[in-house]
Symmetry: C2
Subunit: 440 residues, 2 copies
């Protein structure tokens, strides 16, 4: 207990509470001590809320990201000679793009070292989706991670305990303390994980709209700019693509339903928004990896891999390498489906002008596709099929959605939420624009 | 897990985080669930910081106070026929007034049911002071509390587990999460405890200045007004007296040193600021208890009890009733003193124009008189004697302070802090004014 040399957690909390700016030393102290269990959750929670409300500037965000990145190991991928490019999405309803994109990009000679997360609130998670394939293991050792990446060309794994352990603890704490939707926290969480993976460049799908964490495009732009600037300070190449989440991506929401839809897409089925976003993000990944000179060249290459079955074969290889039963992937009709279904019908004629996409995601959670609290178990078969998307016409009595579930306990809540998520107008609304700005 | 009927802690946290106003239902839920251990500390910490930064309005503060008061028992003092009047201080450096005031007021025929707290940061606590008398027990059952009050006329106890248990948990959490200095929290903490004690009226010593939690008088006025209004909604009579803590109260800072000084005062020694504040607060207590018609009449009565030894005799009775060794109180020279002392000398001639009183309190904590963390042990003999107060003249080399301690580990820090707490000018500064507004 010195005077000058003794930093106390309470002083750091009060400094941010009072609206002051942290030094790198303070942030390093906070993150190290918290990761090592020497600062309790309740002090970290107070700091998180103070930082949420009073803000962290760009320099503080960089310090935070740096401290979180260096709280664990940085994977060494130097043994892999291919360009190593990753993709990350800020999350949304029905976002199964990683499952389609990673094998497609890997087919073009790029190594994709992908660590993903679990579902969070209304938004699904890649790990939960993959684990709906019987046997699929997302918990890999670093050795397995590197070996599968070398062999298959891509790998999909949960964050190992070694990677950014600070983020793992903070992420869980933010989730239960109402401190999720903050640009500094989101930036440091994404970058500390993604930069620890050893990728040279990362293409970011920064989502906004009613089914994303950022509702307003301005917020998403601000996040994208923060991501770019902080990554730049850390010497990492980033490309941010802004995309709209004003409706679910594809038609399936829920883990196994999304895997099945991804398999269809990998088999060349033209689900328009899935193909568009996959080809664009893939195109930028190919440019970053010097496998394409222009975006249109990159997009064509990706589209080709979806058509000619190469992407699908990669996906099968990956499932096999990660312990999954490829029989299901090759014959998706074998997947066990939910026992019950309930259609939601339109109550009038008109145009689909608006979809409250978060409500569809939350409805899927009520059906069992996600978790309200950390210990909730996921039902892999539960979810929603979306029959009508923005701009479609609909007639009274026509199906808007179908709910799939095994447990009936919260179906009424789900039906109420999902059913009220559509705004049907007499006139056609604005055209929906999926792809927006690209910055980087 | 319903939709409408399910309040979740996270929703309450986010509501306050977003700057919205709570309903009574939400606050009751939060306080009940937290008290019963069903909301974890980390969620409460996040809410505390959100409420600290975004504020609680008067109605929310009333809801909070009401919920905290009703989280435990309200002591029934109807068996005691005397008027039951208490005093509370918001805390400061050297504030041993309760030890002098309670026996003096009790000598005038008023029952004083006093629950006190421990030291908090730079500010000492009545319980720690009393416990520096060998054998003194501050942990009483409700039965003992009522019985001693009836027999002695006053009682000094820690908050029992039954009294406002919500406050007990929240107070400890606020202390370690940087959420202490907030008017809504301070109001609810003070009133939930004080109203549970069963007193009919409470005189509040609301302190401001460099040795108080509220530095600015405007803040203290705001606290006093909030206290009055919230107490009014709860049907309780309050008188708030604003007093300055721009210098230590009396000359002793540290538990046993303060007990000894209190005994001197109870034996009629005229330590001016201690007498002035005791007589004023006591005067208002006598008015509230209808034992005096005017303030000057009340003050005279109190002064008389200090002079004629009655207050001292009450104090001895109380120490005996609460298990303390009266031998020490009757012969304070028997108290074990600190092994070491170090004087702090003035480095120039001049007038004492300013005292950074909080630093003197913190220096005493470094010497062992208080706690930096909850588990630190207190050294009852450690502390500081103040030789020079505001407006005094001082010569170079003359003693300003003397530090008393048994452990030498942090004496240098204490000496540095205490030594730098004096501002000595060539001209005499403004006159010090101890007593300020009275509202109620």
């Amino acid at each position: 207990m010195g005077m000058e040399d003794c930093v106390r957690p309470i002083d750091i909390i009060m400094k941010k509470r009072n609206g002051n700016t942290h030094t790198q030393e303070e942030i390093v102290y906070l993150i190290q001590q918290y990761t090592e269990g020497r600062i309790p959750d309740y002090q970290m929670a107070a700091w998180l809320m103070a930082a949420f409300l009073n803000g962290l500037d760009e320099e503080e965000t960089y310090f935070l990201t740096h401290a979180m990145l260096h709280s664990g190991k940085i994977i060494d991928l130097s043994c892999i000679e291919k360009p190593k490019i990753d993709k990350h999405s800020t999350g949304g309803v029905g976002d199964k793009i990683s499952l389609i994109l990673a094998p497609a990009v890997a087919s073009c000679g790029i190594a994709v070292p992908m660590t993903s997360g679990r579902g969070l609130g209304f938004s699904g998670g890649t790990l939960d989706k993959l684990e709906s394939i019987p046997g699929y293991r997302t918990r890999l050792t670093e050795k397995e991670f590197v070996s599968i990446l070398g062999k298959v060309g891509f790998v999909m794994s949960g964050q190992t305990d070694d990677i950014a352990p600070a983020d793992k603890k903070l992420y869980a704490l933010r989730d239960v303390t109402g401190t999720v939707e903050n640009i500094a926290f989101i930036t440091s969480s994404i970058l500390s994980k993604k930069l620890a993976e050893g990728a040279e460049a990362v293409v970011m799908d920064v989502k906004f709209g009613s089914g994303a964490f950022m509702k307003a495009k301005a917020e998403a732009l601000c996040l994208a700019e923060t991501l770019l600037r902080v990554a730049g300070k850390l010497g990492k190449n980033l490309i941010c693509v802004l995309t709209s989440m004003d409706q679910p991506l594809g038609n399936a929401v829920g883990n196994r339903l999304e895997v099945i839809e991804s398999i269809e897409c990998l088999n060349g089925e033209k689900i328009p928004d899935l193909v568009e976003i996959t080809c664009t993000l893939g195109g930028y990944m190919l440019i970053a990896g010097k496998k394409a000179g222009t975006l249109s060249e990159g997009k064509e290459l990706i589209e080709e891999k979806l058509k000619n079955g190469e992407a699908f074969e990669r996906f099968v290889d990956s499932v096999r390498s990660q312990g999954g039963d490829v029989g299901f992937v090759e014959h998706p009709e074998k997947f066990e489906r939910a026992r019950f279904s309930r259609p939601i019908h339109s109550t009038k004629n008109g145009f689909i002008n608006k979809i409250h996409t978060e409500n569809i995601g939350t409805a899927a959670v009520y059906l069992g596709a996600g978790r309200f609290s950390k210990d909730d178990e996921i039902d892999p078969a539960a979810g929603i099929i979306v029959h009508k998307k923005l701009g479609s016409t609909v007639r009274k009595g026509e199906k808007l959605l179908t709910l799939y579930y095994n447990k009936e306990s919260h179906v009424d809540e789900a039906a109420l939420l999902a059913g009220s998520s559509y705004t049907i107008g007499e006139d056609r609304g604005h055209d929906f624009q999926l792809m927006h700005e690209v910055i980087g």
